[in-house]
């Protein structure tokens, strides 16, 4: 049966309603938290070792500790702009247990002394935004939100802000620009949002899953949370599995869970008569693992050792019918479309990659295109203002390196050898 935390809750019918949520122990962590000092909560979260679930994996407690103690308003922003292709875990939390997220936001806001929190939700989550707004209304009626929460004297307003459909607005500084009503271009860092964020005030930005984990940490203690998973990657993590598996879906597993076990046992393996070819372990911006490399555990460190990343935990499984040139082309297409266009390497490099990859896929490639592709990727890597350049170039570079024979076959045969298999 399900051993998880969040997924255990969302299996309960009707838990999106506040009564059912409270009946199942909801908002008890909030009561406990309001009895603690904000510093104690930050300490507890630091003890838990929880790392950001949005992709970068930065320890959340440390992030909160960066907030300066000046007399400026502090803002808390919940990043619900879940745009990474392959990721759909936050959606489950928002749509199925919205009150868990709200509880997490209230506790976190109390910990960093924010009286205003913003949920920046991606434009495509129309339902999710409605559910959240509804949940906020319910929580306000019951006194879990608004003025003087549960008689503690702590006030908090939560506002749901819908994005306008840009992947780049999942990047925290672009998100802030967009939330301020400007064009969603990432800002120059430093200064980091912890000191200069929303409306030039200190701002904490956390992913939905991170915030939704906070109530468990408060209720059961940071030590308990740190005991799950591996020493450096603690707690449970939601994995969104998609692609050529029999049972795709969101699986909650402790960190350090073997990837092949997740694919072969939990998801019941790839399609009948097919073999595993490659796995994207953390969303499309992480480099792929070949079938040989897939024998790895799912935590930040092991994947880094393999030259990839855990990212947002979006696992895309590809069997041997997949054309890797096509995958690379699709990625280049996505990243060139989603590049904000402000900095040179990403703006010019991504469309160039896309054009070359399209050419190779269509059978018009030349041999010197392969070193050129790698050169362009290296020209983007590490040279861009925000991580989007790396997010596009690093995986594409890896597709070209790891599946070079497939690229060469396209060029030699002047066609896509997988065309009839699909």
């Amino acid at each position: 049966m399900n051993e998880g935390l969040i997924s255990k809750l969302w299996e309960i019918d009707g838990i999106e309603k506040i009564d059912k949520y409270v009946a199942n122990g909801g908002y008890s962590a909030l009561k406990k938290a309001l009895g603690m000092k904000p510093e104690e909560i930050v300490e507890e979260v630091k003890t838990s070792g929880i790392r950001g679930r949005g992709g970068a994996g930065f320890p959340a407690g440390v992030k909160w500790g960066f907030i300066p103690k000046e007399k400026k308003p502090v803002y808390l922003v919940c990043n619900a702009d879940e745009g990474e292709p392959g990721t759909f875990k936050d959606r489950y939390i928002i749509e199925k247990v919205p009150h868990l997220l709200l509880e997490g936001i209230v506790i976190s806001s109390y910990a960093v002394r924010a009286n205003f929190a913003l949920i920046y939700i991606r434009w495509e989550y129309v339902n999710g935004a409605d559910i959240l707004k509804n949940a906020i209304r319910e929580a306000k009626e019951k006194g879990y939100l608004g003025k003087n929460i549960l008689g503690s004297g702590f006030d908090l307003e939560i506002v749901v802000h819908r994005g306008a459909g840009a992947y780049i607005c999942g990047e925290e500084t672009a998100l802030l620009e967009s939330a301020e009503g400007k064009r969603g271009n990432p800002r120059v860092k430093p200064p980091f949002p912890a000191s200069v964020g929303l409306y030039n005030s200190p701002t904490v930005i956390n992913n939905v899953e991170t915030l939704a984990s906070i109530p468990f940490i408060i209720e059961k203690g940071g030590k308990w949370f740190a005991g799950i998973g591996t020493p450096k990657s603690t707690g449970f993590k939601l994995f969104a599995v998609s692609g050529h598996v029999k049972k795709p879906g969101v699986y909650e597993k402790p960190m350090g869970y073997p990837l092949l076990k997740l694919i072969n046992e939990d998801c019941e393996g790839v399609r009948e008569g097919r073999k595993l070819k490659a796995v994207i372990p953390g969303g499309t911006s992480t480099p792929p693992l070949t079938a040989q490399e897939a024998d790895v555990t799912l935590d930040f460190e092991s994947l880094q050792e393999k030259g990839s990343m855990l990212g947002s935990g979006a696992i895309i499984v590809m069997d041997d019918s997949t054309c890797m040139v096509y995958v690379a082309k699709k990625l280049a297409d996505f990243y060139s479309h989603e590049s904000c266009g402000q900095c040179t390497p990403c703006r010019e490099g991504m469309p160039w990659l896309k054009e070359i990859l399209t050419r190779i896929e269509n059978g018009n490639g030349a041999e010197d295109d392969i070193p050129l592709l790698m050169d362009i990727c290296n020209g983007i890597l590490g040279r861009t203002l925000c991580p989007l350049g790396d997010a596009g170039a690093l995986p594409i570079l890896n597709y070209v390196k790891k599946f070079q024979d497939e690229f060469l076959r396209h060029i030699k045969e002047k066609r896509c050898p997988f065309r009839d298999k699909r």
């Binding site: 840009a166 064009r183 120059v188 060139s336 479309h337 989603e338 590049s339 904000c340 266009g341 402000q342 900095c343 040179t344 390497p345 990403c346 703006r347 010019e348 490099g349 991504m350 469309p351 160039w352 054009e355 070359i356 050419r359 050129l372 050169d375 290296n378 020209g379 590490g382 040279r383 861009t384 203002l385």
Partner: protein
Amino acid sequence: MSRVKIKIDGREIEAEDWMTIMQAAESAGIEIPHFCYHPALKVVATCRLCVVKIEGIPKLQTACSTKVSDGMVVWTEVEEVRRARADALEFLLINHPLDCPQCEKAGECKLQDYAFKYGKPGSRFKERKRDFGKRDISSKIKIRPNRCVLCTRCVRYAQDLLKTGGLCVVERGGKCYITVYPENGFEGDYTLNVTTLCPVGALISKDWAYKSRPVYLKVASSICPLCSMGCNVFLDVKGIEPVRVRPRKNLKVNYYWLCDYGYLSYKAFALSEREIYALEKKNSTLVRGIQEKIIQNLCDFIKNHAQEMGICLSPFLTNEEIIAIKEFGNALGINSFYFIQPEYLREHENLWLLKPEKAPNMNGLKKIIPSIKEFSSAGEKVLALFGWLMKNVSIPSGVEKIILVSNRLPENLKEKVEFFIPEAGWAEKEGSWTNFEGRVQWFTYAIEPVGESIRIIDFILFVSKNLGLNFKFSSMENLIYLLKGYFPQVELEREVMNSLRKVGVR
């Protein structure tokens, strides 16, 4: 604020702790190539050309956005940096139309310069170049988005400095281009600054388009004559015709900017607007003759009429010229000086760089000749009128005869003018003007006087020698010395002029 020591390319440099690496390098004379960075605009760090290697930091950092810290060791010319720069330039050039032969900016284009200096020799781009077409963004400016490097200097200028907006980036990624808000357009008094801000040939002043290659221009470091603000400018001359005005950096007056009227101010000094031949009256018509002979006749005329003569000065005269004319008048025994009232315009909404007084040296005139009176009060029958005239002037009814030393001969004066001596134009003389706040600023010439026109100081010296007058000065240098008597706060000597002259000659 404190001073820190950093090392750039092995050179020890002292910098202020608030500076970025770019500012520190600039102050030490080290060039770091850049497009998006501009000292007057918000830092966005997007062109990625100014990347440098900082010891101890794994990734390359942008010099424009990274603050210096004590002991920092920066390298701008190592292989890693060179590669990054060359890659960035390659990216900028793949979709660039490479239409330099027909581009208005060719020769002073930063992309051209950097591509030659830091770029890769060939192109590996086999795909189709994208095409955004071309359009006008205002009545004065056209845009060629294909040439654009999206440094967004123009957008930031319009948004952060003008605060009127008007320009914006539309679309995303490779489809990005700069355009104008369709409803309100990009009109105003300060729009042409974006054409000089633009490091490439994307934003072009329609007035300047296709006039000349920059290499053919002779440049004078000058001062804009259109109002009493005294904006510092470069005046570009092609052949004998002024063709362009550009702002010249002066952080005490106009920063990096100029108003649109200033950009077009050279037009008032076009050859078609001025007379360049000396004229004298014969049988009640003005006719040409031998210049020296005309001046000879003029000297005789002055000799006969010195007692009933008044002198009128235009507020466009330089301080030196005013002193020379004053000395000249005093030597002749003339004590009545008049000035031509400049135009006053207060109609502009935004008076940032625009002063209502439409002449450059009203302040100097009043300072050097405190007893100067308004022109309309002139009671003399004979009048010597010195200096440029921007438009027609109305002459007091008592005046019967006029000696006119000016750039143009207004229609309504023809009847009364006995002698007309053409004066050197804006690009042809040097001197100083005193702006609205009493700042004395020098400008130089780019070319010698055109046609028969003559610099007023030379004219005065010539005439006074002819008349046998005794003078305190014999050259420009003497005049500058005299000038110090009127403006004791001014620190300048020949070196100032000489250094200016060096700037002026390309």
